[in-house]
């Protein structure tokens, strides 16, 4: 199977969908002539032209709103946010318009929009550029939120997001863009709302999304090598809709859960998962559900410290040992 980067996987997904459906357009700051701030859209403008791949001014509220209006009319705009952190100036358009228009119109209008871009800390760009708003977005019934961790998932989820008839927020990660992984040549889709067990285990379930999945996998490896503990790693892949059954099946097997989440702890995604596990698998648990989140402060700039602010394999291992 060919090995390509997460970036290339996204690029392939966009290109294939642009090719397949002329209602698809890609818009955002620097996506066309500059080939993308993170080169996700590299070559697309040259290949598809300025009608399909469009540079916008720095007006997130304006162009995301434009995308919502175009989606209401049946187009499938894919809107790039240079960082999801910049979504905050467009929040009204995302939550009130994309998220609520179907409901408020009694189902008369739908909004097949994709909003995508990186949502991660860990790149030493300070608090304003390091937000992970997947929990805020998933809090809005009407929005869908996915967070791929691997090139394979990135491509399959992006294609599903574009074909979905509801607004989908795709949370990417600049630290993953260069990661390599196997991606099959032909067409495939990954359904939204289906989690994936990335490593099987019997002693504890590590449950994560996005880059935290990789941190959990690193921790699982060391738990096995150093402590002879068999950790299962569940990748949520999709946050809303949420594949609760895969999570619960894992917890019922291992009887212990440690949730790994680059969100902040207060009302982060893992808080939702923890609540769900105690409600539905309380009797299966041999220990309290534990969480490893980003340390609860704005993202610090200082490089060695920011690395510690995000979940680390060390912190995961400590939590696992504490309940084993």
């Amino acid at each position: 199977m060919p090995v390509i980067t997460y970036r290339q996987a996204l690029n392939d997904a966009l290109a294939e969908e642009l090719e397949r459906d002329e209602n698809v357009v890609v818009m955002g700051e620097e996506v066309a002539e500059y080939n993308g701030a993170y080169k996700i859209t590299d070559g697309l403008w040259k290949r598809f032209g300025g009608k399909r791949v469009i540079d916008t001014p720095i007006s997130e509220a304006g162009f995301i709103g434009l995308g919502v209006g175009a989606a209401m009319m049946g187009m499938r705009p894919v809107m790039e946010l240079m960082f999801w952190s910049f979504a905050y100036v467009a929040y009204d358009q995302i939550i009130n318009n994309a998220g609520c228009v179907r409901y408020m119109s009694g189902g008369l209008i739908n909004c097949p929009l994709v909003i995508r871009g990186p949502a991660n800390g860990g790149t030493n760009v300070g608090a304003t550029h390091s937000h992970t708003p997947e929990n805020f977005l998933a809090n809005t019934p009407g929005l869908k939120v996915v967070s791929p961790a691997t090139p394979y998932d990135a491509k399959g989820l992006m294609k599903s997001a574009i074909r979905d008839n509801d607004p989908v927020c795709v949370m990417e990660n600049t630290l993953l863009y260069g990661d390599q992984g196997e991606v099959p040549e032909g067409e495939y889709l990954i359904p939204i709302g289906v989690a994936d067990v990335k490593r099987e285990g019997t002693d504890v379930s590590l449950i994560a999304h996005g880059r935290a999945v990789l941190t959990a996998l690193a921790a699982a490896h060391r738990l096995h090598e150093e402590f002879n503990i068999s950790a299962e790693v569940v990748d949520l892949r999709s946050i809303r809709p949420l594949d609760e059954e895969t999570v619960l099946a894992s917890v019922r097997k291992t009887h212990r859960a440690v949730l790994v989440d680059e969100n902040k702890p207060f009302c982060g995604v893992s808080a939702q998962i923890a609540s769900m596990i105690q409600e539905r698998a309380f009797d299966d648990l041999d220990a309290p559900v534990q969480r490893v989140c980003s340390l609860d402060a704005p993202a610090i700039y200082s490089p060695p410290l920011e690395a510690l602010q995000l979940p680390t394999a060390d912190r995961i291992i400590q939590k696992v040992l504490a309940i084993s």
Binding site: S59, N97, G106, D166, P191
Partner: protein, 366 residues
């Protein structure tokens, strides 16, 4: 084409320019002219009936009445062709009726009934009829301004000769997203027509206390290289003539326009507006009612033209009242939505039972 407020016809007395002779008005039939009167009266009678329901405590939330502004919706929306679309803010009842939504579905929506245009899920501020090219009904001030842009962008993308009439208030012009939209509209040659319904107040704040400008609000378009005009909203002929210029500019040149239509609302910002009589004098409201009521002025005009008499007027008005009364009856007789209905119309894929709608949990109740 731009004029400054100083040159604008004074609000009192007859418009010195007779827009009745403008091309878009010259060929109007008697039936069409009477139709405009009927539509304005339908809006007024509908809203008066809704006010009663509100005062009887049968409605939740806000009720923003359009009364006094009827000539704007009727004058502009009646110009819509097959590929023209419209979107507005929360003061949306007038627009809804003019595009052809029924009084029944609108009144039922006000009462939160399952037979409402949004099945009782939107309420007064959120009426929609995409089948009539009407995209709402939006509650966040200026939030609709980029949506109108996107609708017009989609028309252009699809190769259709159309435009999107995008309404906003005199207070909404101070929101950033409106300015982002103007820039995009001009930069990308998008066939959108922004229509500022300047009723002189945003809630309790007068124009003078909210907006800095040299002469008017539309003039800000100048900075974005967008054509603009100001319009005397009480003259239906003028509203039509100037809006038609803007629509033609969108159709023929694919260029945006900003129109500022002077108008006036008689009621409080919403019916719940406790300060309705504090930020402006009752005499001011009375003055507008006496001298600038768009319906009275249109009636007088039609009488002068010899196509309306008192008996004819009465007949049209009675029909509007009857239609409104029947809508009240329909709304009152209609059922409320069921509790299960809370969970439909959120995700298309779930409602349609598609594969994508069946993977993962979408709602997080017990």
């Amino acid at each position: 084409m731009s004029v400054t407020r100083a040159e604008k016809p004074k609000k009192t007395g007859r418009n010195p320019v007779d827009y009745a002779t403008a091309a878009i008005n010259a060929d109007l039939t008697k039936e069409q002219k009477l139709g405009f009167l009927a539509d304005m009266l339908r809006i007024r009678r509908f809203e008066q009936a809704s006010l009663k329901l509100y005062q009887q405590g049968k409605m939740g939330g806000f009720l923003h009445l359009y009364i006094g502004q009827e000539s704007v919706a009727v004058g502009t929306l009646a110009l819509m062709g097959e590929n023209d679309h419209a979107i507005t803010a929360y003061r949306d009842h007038g627009h809804a009726l003019v595009v052809g939504m029924s009084m029944n579905e609108c009144m039922a929506e006000l009462l939160g009934k399952a037979t409402g245009c949004s099945k009782g899920k939107g309420g007064s501020m959120h009426f929609f009829a995409p089948d009539k090219n009407f995209w709402g009904g939006h509650g966040i001030v200026a939030g609709q301004t980029p949506l109108g842009l996107g609708i017009a962008y989609a028309l252009k993308y699809q190769g259709l000769k159309g435009c999107c009439l995008t309404y906003l208030g005199d207070g909404a012009v101070n929101q950033g997203v409106y300015h982002e939209s103007l820039n995009l509209a001009s930069l990308w040659d998008i066939p959108v027509v922004y229509i500022i319904e300047n009723n002189q107040y945003s809630m309790g704040t007068s124009l003078a206390r909210s907006s800095a400008s040299k002469s008017c609000l539309a003039e800000r378009a100048e900075g974005y290289n967008i054509d603009w005009d100001i319009v005397n909203g009480e003259d239906l002929y003028e509203v039509r003539a100037k809006t038609w210029d803007a629509i033609e500019r969108a159709h023929e040149k694919c260029r945006p326009t900003v129109l500022e239509i002077d108008t006036y609302r008689y009621y409080g910002h919403s019916v719940a507006d406790a300060n309705a009589k504090k930020y402006r004098k009752p005499e001011e409201i009375e003055f507008y009612k006496q001298n600038h009521d768009p319906i009275t002025l249109w009636e007088n005009r039609l009488k002068e033209e010899g196509i309306l008499d008192d008996a004819g007027l009465k007949k049209i008005d009675e029909a509007a009242k009857k239609e409104a009364a029947a809508a009240v009856q329909f709304a009152e007789d209609s059922p409320f939505p069921e509790v299960e209905d809370i969970f439909s119309d959120i995700y298309y894929e779930v409602d349609m039972g598609t594969e994508s709608g069946q993977t993962g949990r979408h709602f997080f109740n017990d």
